[in-house]
């Protein structure tokens, strides 16, 4: 095709550091002005494809290239990063880490500075671009003081200022709360409408499909599995087979035994023709609904009228009261920067609350030091690299016990026990560096569990994980919970909250907006809007199919899905 702006021809790539190629025999053409989604599980090679397009391969990550890749007439084999930087603009995953400038304006100008654009012209261009992404009032702000959505706008502006024809988004939804993610997708869509070629690398299909994409390219194990329209792909059962989550409303339809075809337009719920499914959905709902049983609960942790502020001026937590019961697994959700992590720091004693009390089993925790509190509350940080300090798994898990001066014989006994619980026994003698991200996460969880905390708090346990790893981590946590471990999850992943936790606490601007059943939160439109969450598509499906009690439909789905998955496992 003559208007192909990116064409992979029998392309393969192997990193020098790896024994096997990461990409095999890729044949792919992307036309000018197209909007394409590249999806696949972690480690499938989708990020490597991204690196090939923006030139990080072979300039920064070395390896062997077979076949060829032509980008807008340039063969990337001999192209420098700079040749490609005029063709491809990349928005990296972590918008926080990629800011170079101290102010929004300076960050946007970075590419211009490198091109020796004179100051006056630079200022003109920056203010024009800032206006385009609605950031004109923030040009002199520090990018780190912006909200999640503004950060996205800022990094997009920094890429667009160079007027590149191709825009590449590497997992734009990671680290964003659901509502911000949705606006990010809308913004990307607006750019595509201006004639840019847009490539999105992402595994959250349902969220990306909030706006139309022309094609989905499904990648697994270094090969292209499918290259077709979203409707076509979703009608087949390919996604789940390759470790990617299909939109929830489609899972519900499949549970109800509905046949999904391409001409029903399954790629977006608003265009989805649900008429042929209605009967089956209603009868499935009637057959499977049953009232949930309430259990006797014993109070474990009590947070009572807690207030906190970092600087004494801006309150971060305002009058938070919360009960956590023994054996519970609950989620704390809400806007980025709404106080979720701060609440965790107050409970663990990393920060001292200004007012109110935190008690566990009736004991006021303020009398204990941070390390003494660890016997009541243990926290697992989001990034496992922030916790791992030893080279061997055994030593890492034993660390907390050894510094407490516990005799080595008991240390060994307890560590081996925890390793067994966490499924790490076979790795006993392994160095940590040989583990995958999910396994590292397990090590950090094990290193906290070994201290026997009454409550385990996890900060974004599945951030950046694909469906397969996500399920692996969450099934593990659920198993722990079944054995009686009380767990608090801090998250903005709506699936996680819906599927794994019965109760959800919604925190917004330092206040608790709601404390109710997880599915109730996600069916409450005003509440989800206020807290930057997103209504679940199941609710919309139920309404669309004319089910009389949509809330109960969602509940039934969650229960059914839990049973279904535990039978699978």
């Amino acid at each position: 095709m003559s208007d192909a702006v990116i064409s992979f021809r029998n392309f393969g790539f192997q990193y020098y550091s790896q024994s096997e190629p990461t990409l095999f025999d890729i044949n792919l053409e992307i036309r000018r002005g197209e909007k394409v989604l590249i999806a696949g599980p972690s480690g499938c090679g989708k990020s490597t494809i991204g690196h090939c397009i923006n030139g990080l391969i072979p300039n920064r990550y070395r390896g062997t290239i077979t076949g060829e890749l032509i980008i807008d007439g340039i063969n990337t084999k001999n192209a420098s990063l700079f040749d490609l930087s005029h063709k491809v603009g990349t928005v990296l995953q972590d918008s926080d880490g990629q800011f170079i400038g101290l102010t929004v304006g300076e960050d946007i100008a970075f590419a211009l500075e490198n091109d020796n654009v004179p100051l006056a012209e630079m200022q003109k261009k920056v203010s024009a671009i800032a206006k385009l992404v609605n950031m004109e009032n923030h040009v002199s702000n520090n990018p780190h003081d912006l909200s999640g959505g503004q950060k996205q706008r800022c990094s997009m502006a920094g890429v667009m200022v160079d007027d590149v024809p191709i825009l590449l988004f590497d997992e734009p939804l990671a680290n964003l709360d659901p509502a911000t993610g949705r606006t990010a997708i809308e913004l990307i869509d607006a750019l595509a409408d201006e004639g840019k070629t847009v490539i999105i690398i992402e595994h959250r299909i349902e969220d990306v499909l909030h706006r139309h994409v022309d094609r989905i390219i499904l990648v697994d194990e270094g090969r292209i599995i499918a290259d077709c329209t979203p409707d076509h792909l979703l009608a087949e059962d390919l996604l789940t087979k390759h470790g990617i989550r299909e939109p929830l409303y489609l899972t519900a339809c499949r549970y109800a035994d509905c046949r999904i075809t391409e001409d029903m337009h399954p790629s977006s719920l608003s265009g989805f023709d649900v008429s042929s499914c209605r009967e089956r959905l209603i009868s499935w709902h009637e057959k499977n609904r049953h009232p949930a049983e309430e259990q006797e609960k014993k109070l474990l942790l009590n947070v009572d009228h807690v207030k906190f502020s970092y600087d004494g001026v801006v309150p971060v937590l305002q009058d938070i009261s919360l009960n956590v019961y023994e054996g519970e697994m609950l989620s704390i959700v809400g806007k980025n920067g709404g106080g979720k992590s701060t609440l965790a720091s107050v409970i663990t004693g990393f920060q001292q609350n200004d007012a109110g009390t935190v008690t566990c089993e009736g004991k006021d925790l303020s009398q204990f030091s941070v390390s003494e509190r660890a016997e009541y509350v243990g926290i697992v940080l989001q990034n496992p690299n922030q916790m791992i300090s030893k080279t061997l798994i055994f030593d890492e898990i034993a660390f907390g016990l050894r510094v407490r001066g516990i005799p080595e014989a008991e240390v060994e006994k307890r560590v081996l026990e925890v390793m067994k619980v966490c499924g790490l026994s076979e790795f006993r003698k392994w160095p940590i560096s040989a583990l995958s991200y999910g396994q590292k996460k397990r090590v950090t969880i094990a290193s906290i569990l070994v201290l026997n905390p009454k409550i385990l708090i996890l900060d974004e346990p599945t951030a950046g994980q694909d469906y397969r790893h996500y399920s692996e981590i969450m099934e593990f946590l659920q198993e722990l919970n079944k054995n009686g471990q009380t767990i608090i999850l801090i998250t903005h992943d709506m699936h996680l909250m819906l599927e794994y936790t019965k109760r959800a606490v919604v925190l917004c601007d330092g206040r608790i907006l709601a404390d109710e059943k997880a599915y109730e939160v996600l069916c409450d439109l005003p509440l989800t809007e206020k807290a930057n969450l997103k209504e679940t598509s199941l609710f919309e499906l139920a309404e669309k199919a004319g089910i009389r009690d949509p809330l109960s439909f969602v509940e039934t789905f969650i229960e059914y899905d839990r049973r279904y998955r535990s039978n699978e496992a």
Binding site: L56, F82, S85, N116, L119, A374, S389
Partner: protein, 277 residues
């Protein structure tokens, strides 16, 4: 606006408005002036001036308290040690001896020694605020641009400004890691012995190094992808052309330096100012 500890704060004061280059030059002029003399009158004048500047720059004491405490501990130790090692140095310099009282044996406190040590003390004390003003009021990017303006390689300038910029981030990482390790039982309080505390630090440093490496890889990819290093030169968005105020400040500082030199060579005719003859 939230004021951050130990990092550049974006405020609008006459001192913040000066170019980073000007502040560097003024800093060098004034510190050399202090280095060039042991005349307490000159030193005190510069000290007073630098504290006034700190006030103008709206630097709050709470921001710099920790640094001050460390400096004072250092100076106090230095003060005592100077006396212990050479109790008669003041007498040697000034050539007279006015005893105050004898502590023990050879250690007699003299007016000369006291005067010498106080002068030395105030020398250090006058330089500290100058450094703090420079550090806390200079926009790292703008500073990089002015260094590049005087002919220093822009890559070196950028890495300097990135270092200054990432200092707060790395220290935030350090705190997060430290707390997480403390929660696992690591005792970093005074209850633990010095040896075990030193050993414990490795439990914080190892993760810190890994997270910092991740940060560096990310930022250098981000920079490369946006064409950093493409040309031999680059322009700077944060560039501030030197204004009248800049030239005036540099002029004033140069005059101060020259005045101090004048006092040293033509008034005192010595490194020291001698009130004893």
């Amino acid at each position: 606006m939230k004021l951050k500890l130990f990092s550049y704060n974006q405020l609008d004061t006459p001192i913040h408005r000066l170019s980073g280059f000007t502040k560097l030059v003024c800093f060098l002029f004034l510190t050399s002036a202090v280095m060039f003399t042991y005349d307490i009158r000159c030193i005190l004048a510069i000290t007073v001036m630098s504290y006034i500047c700190m006030n103008v720059a709206k630097i709050r004491f709470s921001q710099v308290r920790l640094m001050f405490i460390y400096v004072l501990i250092f100076l106090a130790t230095n003060f005592v040690l100077t006396f212990l090692f050479s109790p008669k140095y003041g007498v040697e310099i000034y050539g007279t001896e006015h005893d105050i009282f004898t502590i023990f044996g050879n250690y007699t406190l003299t007016q000369e020694q006291l005067f010498y040590q106080i002068t030395k003390f105030s020398k250090y004390l006058s330089v500290i605020p100058l450094g703090m003003i420079f550090f806390l009021t200079t926009n790292p990017s703008e500073f990089a641009s002015s260094l590049n303006g005087v002919g220093i390689n822009y890559k070196a300038c950028t890495s300097l400004s990135l270092t200054l910029r990432y200092f707060p981030d790395v220290s935030a990482d350090y705190n997060a890691i430290k707390l997480a390790q403390q929660a696992r039982g690591l005792d970093m309080s005074k209850k633990a012995s010095v040896m075990s505390r030193l050993k414990n630090i490795s439990a914080i440093l190892a993760p810190l190094i890994f997270t910092t490496m991740d940060r560096i890889e990310l930022i250098s990819n981000a920079m490369d992808l946006r064409g950093f290093g493409k040309q031999k030169t680059r322009t700077w968005y944060a560039r501030k052309p030197l204004t009248k105020a800049d030239w005036l400040s540099m002029g004033v500082c140069l005059i101060i330096l020259l005045a101090v030199m004048y006092v040293r060579f033509f008034v005192n005719r010595s490194f020291y100012y001698n009130p004893f003859i």
